[in-house]
Symmetry: C2
Subunit: 328 residues, 2 copies
């Protein structure tokens, strides 16, 4: 059935039933002018928002409605993770084209909820409107973080070590594969369609280590490293040979005629964490993360005057190019 | 200068400078992965979001960029007011068409800030993206409210009196005037372009009176009265002759060949408050609001079985038609 036929208010009822929660922190859920939540005592509120628009951020020819919902949620959860926060609750502002079907809208919410429920982060309200030119999804999330634990982009100090979680380049490679083969199913394609935000990894790191700054990789490693250095008023040197690129990406790059290194430096929407650590804690980090998740030392923080450089595979350092997705 | 030429990150810098705040509740402002705020101690968090899309919610042929920013903010502030809350901070997720100019974007933020600063509600972050088909603005707001003071749509009791703030019909009349005369300037046009959310009125009411339910009029009086009755599981009777329509609206309706009553029942985006009051407090309400703002008694809450009715100017009651704007 088309949404048009069901009507706005009955659709909101259906969505309300779908995302219903028994979370005790939620005092008032979907269906009023706003949601009401209990304040996390003695903590700070983390507050973030992110929009995904059809044909700009995703393409329904190779993303399912569940995929789009999942990824919109992932982008926001990743921002909470980058601050060291724990997700609390979210709102969804949803622009729907006239011909969209009710079950497509509910699939979108399934995708959002399947991910957010893993982090006990209920959807507690939002807004629905007519969007003639395609789907638009804005999620706003609240999280909480201890006053002494939150991380910003701005705390890196000279000599700190630069780390990244996971492998890089897969989100962008996944997109390129889908552009040539819409139906392709592989773990690389999955990394593009269903990225997994590093919430628990972030919590483990900040609780146990002297992490000095953190950012999530949403614009691409090179751009996000620049963001971190700018906010910290520092420079950096990273090593090309250390950047974590999986063997499967190396293989895919060969077939797509791409440089794995350039892909890893520019791939946005990775939702991995880029962070800096006090250099005395290198061993401690290895102990803490061992057997849990991959983290790779890729460089170190330098004086601002030295700029942001990369030591190439040829043994020469050069200024790092800001590559990656920009909207304008 | 076009945004395209300046680039996304330099635009964010400019916006950050424009909306900068010294509010002590804001721990971390624009420029990181998320904003950080202090929790209001012993209060509940009010959380709301609302999107305005070009050609759907506004038209740049007769709304200036300041108007659009103002109104987007007003819609969200009004939702906080409807819960009885005090605004705390907001995020803006902004979709920009390729040809938009930097000064137009800054004017949009001026409009938002001019209104939000009246309520000490800083803009603390957001998201910017390319939106090829026109401007899209999603605002998410946080507010705070005392645990024993918040109001929902769901608390009306049989015999409660139904009130509305201000005059009705002006927002819709203003829009119709603008459609025939884009340059028209009048107080009615202003009500469409720059509605003023009833935050302080709401606070005065809930602190001093036994308000049993509240909603803001964003869909239209008739639709929003239905929302309130449904959530309260009650019926209602309102009196056509009591619905507050100003003389200027009566005059405008004559020239536009419209019924003032129908306009007042269906006009959305009024951002007035519709609320119910324990009937023993009628006199107290008059004392408290006298000389401060207009409130009008328009009817009373009935048993659910009696439905939602209007006593017409002809002395006959009939079922109230759900009119007003719906998106689908």
């Amino acid at each position: 059935m088309e949404v048009k036929k069901l009507g706005e208010f009955r659709l909101i009822d259906l969505i309300g039933r779908k995302v219903n929660t028994r979370d005790k922190r939620v005092v008032l859920n979907i269906g009023d002018d706003a949601a009401l939540l209990r304040c996390p005592p003695a903590k700070l509120i983390v507050f973030t928002t992110d929009t995904m628009m059809e044909k700009v951020h995703f393409d329904l020819r190779y993303s399912s409605f569940e995929d789009v919902g999942w990824k919109s949620m992932a982008a926001n959860l990743s921002d909470i993770a980058a601050m060291g926060g724990v997700p609390l609750a979210g709102l969804v502002s949803l622009g729907l084209p006239g011909k969209i079907k009710v079950d497509q809208v509910l699939k979108l919410y399934s995708g959002m909820k399947n991910l957010s429920s893993k982090f006990k982060c209920p959807i507690v309200g939002g807004d629905i409107f007519f969007s003639p030119k395609g789907l638009v999804i804005t999620i706003s999330l609240l999280g909480e973080v201890e006053k002494n634990l939150f991380k910003t982009r701005g705390g890196a100090r000279i000599g700190d070590l630069i780390y990244v979680t996971g492998n890089l380049g897969e989100a962008e490679a996944g997109l390129r594969i889908l552009r040539t083969d819409k139906k392709k199913k592989s773990s690389i394609v999955r990394k593009h369609l269903r990225p997994y935000p590093r919430v628990s990894e972030s919590r483990l790191l900040i609780k146990n280590l002297n992490i000095t700054s953190m950012i999530d990789i949403s614009d691409g490693l090179s751009s996000d490293l620049y963001h971190l250095c700018e906010e910290s008023s520092k420079g950096a040197l990273i090593y090309a040979e250390k950047i974590p690129v999986s063997q499967r990406i190396t293989r895919v790059c060969k077939s797509l005629n791409l440089s794995p290194l350039n892909l890893a430096l520019s791939s946005g929407e990775e939702y991995e964490l880029l962070f800096t650590l006090n250099r005395n804690e290198e061993k401690k980090l290895r102990t803490i993360t061992q057997g849990k998740f991959k983290v790779t030392l890729i460089g170190q923080i330098k004086n601002k005057k030295e700029g942001v450089e990369i030591l190439g595979l040829d043994g020469k350092s050069r200024s790092l190019k800001k590559t990656g997705y920009t909207h304008f």
